[in-house]
């Protein structure tokens, strides 16, 4: 049943209706009589956010490449349209067929940030699918699944989801769909299918694990049943260069956050910054060759018609052949009036060669992330950037005519003192001083240093997973210090947020399965779009915690001993807990660890892959200057 006739009368009463009707160029239509399984790929946030997400585009292409499967897109309707949908009994539908997703075989959510969890419940409810896994009965469809970075600790939403995909989805998603079709056609039930799926590497079926707790509320044990594996290991794509990449995107009509062609240039990160979850979750480091990157970029531009190309990775300037890559990309983008934008550049390896190439690219200001204000603090978090490197990079930027620089910092880092906080503004002031000491500084506009200071959230699978987050009071104290430190500095602007969203993020990131009831309670009280400050309602969340006899401090502010069983310990992301402990101990001593290209840190990845991540016999002098120090 196509819902077009029911949707249409509502559209002129909502903001930006083009978000709700599909039909965009590049959206894939199929004849459903030829389809064996349908996948509703749900992004639990608004269209303009979800449509900017590369992972969705990748998996949309991978599933739709199979003629017998049809993957469609679904986003969270904004509150105005949601109200009309509920009033007119319009169920949540997918944007390609405009058919209700409750009739699909798979309803899959991508988990990009913890504060989207209530939206998942809301979308299931709008779809007419029971939010609790246990209420879905024995008929096999729809299977509610989820993947993405937050799947590394899926426990807080474990009771809502049939199965989780751990790691990279390009292969395992299709394996699970193949198994599903085979078992459904043989008349299998939901639980029979889930039991069989749990045997596939990278599939975690939470209903097959019992969790017991100590009296103090910490996890005692996670016990598998029905033959489910004791630990579930994530999936990775071994040959990343040959991995299928989307040749086209759905090109939206309405404006979205990142409205451009995007090519993924490398996966994983070799830096080992101790606060960064992505840097550990996506190991090992793998890159595409410049030839592949240029070919895929060219194809994307031709098929989407985009006027802008961006490169995606955790650290683009760590690509071992970046200058070749840039030369290749600039050759075709300049000929065809394409803007090239390069996020994720690191301060330390912003070479003059790279800067010269970047000068050919239109830029709207430079952003760098020193993350901490003092060298001691940067050593603690293993952000191997020195002040000299930052100054050198800013100088290159100023010489190129830039006058505004944006710096990203964190506060609430382990071992942090008030002096480290003051150090943020002192560092920014030294950048200002350096500008005025330059003889040939850009004339006209005054220099402007913007410091954005986020509250640190300790995350699973990082060396700081053992650390408590700063309490609300500690954060308030540090924000006051910042306020005093920045007063009177005309050329420096500092900005930060209220800490409540970061506190909830920490709780949900490191939470256990008991939080399912809290999330349900918060959603029932009306919490949705928690990542948006205009919707975020912390008091309602606190009520939901209190109702379950739980509190945020237990999850966010409690130091966790090395021998504690963590809610995510039965999930294997290739990185050893022993390695995380070693790194945490080094952090306490402010000792740094070299990046992976210089020396293997023994994180545990090679034990799984069976080979070193890099060819260490290759002389360092053949690498870009950035990677050799």
């Amino acid at each position: 049943m196509n819902l077009f006739e029911k949707i249409e009368p509502l559209l002129l009463n909502v903001q930006k209706p083009a978000r709700y009707i599909g039909g965009e160029p590049g959206s894939i239509m199929k004849d459903k009589s030829q389809i064996k399984a349908r996948f509703a790929f749900c992004f639990p946030d608004r269209y303009d956010v979800g449509m900017s997400h590369l992972g969705m585009k990748v998996l949309y292409a991978v599933i739709n490449q199979r003629p017998e499967y049809w993957c469609e897109r679904v986003f969270a309707p904004d509150t105005d349209f949601e109200a009309l949908m509920r009033e007119h009994h319009l169920p949540l539908y997918a944007l390609e067929s405009l058919e209700p997703i409750k009739d699909f075989d798979f309803i899959g959510f991508t988990l990009q940030y913890e504060l989207c969890y209530t939206n998942i419940l809301n979308m299931l409810d709008l779809a007419g699918v029971p939010v609790w896994q246990r209420d879905r009965g024995e008929s096999i469809a729809p299977i509610v699944c989820a993947g993405g970075s937050c799947a590394c600790n899926p426990e807080p939403i474990a009771d809502f989801v049939d199965l989780f995909f751990l790691g990279e989805g390009e292969e395992v998603d299709l394996e699970v769909m193949d198994l599903y079709v085979k078992m459904r056609d043989a008349g299998a039930t939901r639980s029979e299918f889930l039991k069989a799926a749990s045997q596939i590497q990278g599939v975690y079926v939470p209903s097959l694990y019992d969790v017991s707790y100590h009296e103090d509320g910490t996890v005692k044990a996670v016990t598998p049943k029905d033959g489910a594996p004791a630990t579930v290991r994530k999936r990775i794509i071994e040959n990343f260069d040959k991995c299928p990449a989307p040749e086209s995107f759905v090109v939206p009509f309405s404006e979205i956050v990142h409205d451009r062609a995007v090519t993924e240039v490398l996966r994983g990160c070799l830096r080992g910054c101790r606060f960064c979850q992505a840097g550990f979750l996506y190991r090992p480091f793998r890159e595409k060759t410049p030839e592949t990157i240029c070919e895929q970029s060219k194809k994307l531009i031709d098929n989407t018609g985009y006027e802008e190309l961006s490169l995606c990775s955790l650290s683009t300037s760590d690509h071992s052949r970046i200058e070749e890559m840039m030369d290749g990309l600039l050759t075709f983008t300049e000929n065809e009036h394409i803007n090239l934008s390069l996020p994720s550049l690191r301060v330390d390896n912003f070479s003059t060669g790279l800067m010269n190439r970047l000068r050919r690219v239109r830029s709207s200001g430079l952003t760098f992330a020193p993350e901490a204000g003092t060298q001691r603090m940067r050593d603690v978090i293993n952000k191997n950037v020195t002040e000299e490197e930052l100054m050198r990079t800013c100088k290159i930027a100023f010489n190129a005519g830039q006058t505004s620089v944006k710096l990203y910092f964190m506060m609430g880092l382990p071992t942090e003192t008030d002096d480290d906080i003051r150090g943020i503004i002192e560092l920014a002031q030294r950048v200002v001083d350096m500008f005025y000491e330059m003889e040939r500084r850009p004339k006209g506009k005054p220099v402007q240093i913007s410091c954005s200071i986020a509250t640190f959230v300790p995350k699973p699978f990082t060396p700081f997973e053992f650390h408590p987050q700063d309490t609300r009071e500690m954060i308030a104290h540090k924000q006051k210090i910042l306020e005093e430190a920045v007063a009177g500095h005309k050329r420096i602007r500092a900005s930060w947020h209220f800490p409540e969203t970061s506190i909830l993020e920490a709780v949900l990131a490191k939470g256990d399965r008991r939080l399912c009831n809290v999330i349900y309670g918060a959603w029932k009280r009306g919490c949705i779009f928690d990542a948006w400050s205009e919707h975020f309602n912390y008091p309602l969340w606190l009520e939901a915690f209190a109702e379950q006899g739980l509190n945020v401090e237990f999850y966010a502010n409690r130091p966790r001993p090395y021998d504690e069983v963590f809610p995510w310990d039965h999930l294997d992301y290739y990185v050893d807990k022993a390695f995380l402990i070693r790194e945490n101990e080094k952090a306490k001593q402010a000792q740094t660890t070299k990046h992976c290209r210089l020396q293997c840190a023994g994180c545990g990845v090679t034990k799984v892959t069976g080979h070193p991540c890099f060819d260490y016999s290759k002389p360092l002098r053949d690498l870009p200057e950035a990677l050799t120090s």
């Binding site: 077009f4 009368p9 002129l12 160029p25 009509f253 309405s254 098929n303 018609g305 065809e336």
Partner: protein
């Protein structure tokens, strides 16, 4: 360099594309289609595309206009075929030709409007009473805030028909750069008037379609 005026349709899903979004959508379609469109010169070159008359969101049309220039020797018919292959099925070019009239020649546009209702006769009676008012003042958003407009004086109601499922209107409204009235201005005023003057009449969706863009002498803009 060949100047081209394309006539295109905007229906079903495509009628929810806003005017600004349509501009971006077409620019990208030219790139996908490989049609060598002329770029403006200067500091920030961009594809030259001109829409002489905007269509309001939600209104269908089979007579929309878009001007561009082909920078090369591609025949305009081929440009149209290439564009149609990469445009959504609800947004298709119907014809291409050399532009004849200037944009400033546009003076009127014709619309068909359908007001859904299960009480078509009662709705007709209400409409007749509504339109019999000496003037119908509505607030109209302009570049400088809002202004009061007598929409009755602006609209030429060419036909009113009662159908099984509602009321069918044919309207001729001023269009162009100086005065522009879209049919929603009149239908919104009617729907706002109804609850007070004919509270028993229930209405459903309003469908609007632009039928023609006309010059001052009544000939189609081409």
């Amino acid at each position: 360099m060949v100047p081209v005026r394309a006539t295109f349709e905007k229906r079903r899903r495509a009628k929810y594309i806003s005017h600004l979004d349509l501009m971006r959508c077409m620019q990208r379609a030219f790139r996908r289609a490989g049609v060598p469109i002329w770029f403006t010169e200067g500091f920030n070159p961009h594809a030259y595309l001109m829409f002489p008359l905007a269509l309001s969101l939600g209104c269908e049309s089979g007579c929309e206009c878009m001007d561009f220039r082909i920078d090369g020797d591609m025949p305009m018919q081929e440009a149209m075929e290439r564009l149609n292959r990469v445009l959504p099925p609800d947004l298709q070019i119907l014809a291409v030709a050399a532009p004849v009239r200037k944009h400033t020649d546009i003076a009127f546009a014709d619309y068909a409007v359908r007001l859904d209702s299960e009480q078509p006769d009662a709705l007709r009676t209400a409409w007749d009473a509504f339109i019999a008012q000496p003037e119908i003042l509505v607030e109209k958003k302009t570049k400088r805030g809002t202004a009061q407009v007598d929409v009755k004086a602006q609209a030429e109601i060419q036909d009113v028909q009662t159908a099984a499922d509602g009321l069918l209107l044919k309207l001729r409204l001023p269009a162009g750069t100086s005065v522009n009235v879209n049919p929603g201005l009149l239908t919104d005023a009617f729907l706002a008037w109804l609850p007070e003057h004919a509270p028993e009449v229930q209405t459903g969706t309003v469908h609007a379609e632009r039928l023609a863009i006309l010059c001052a002498d009544g000939t189609p803009f081409a």
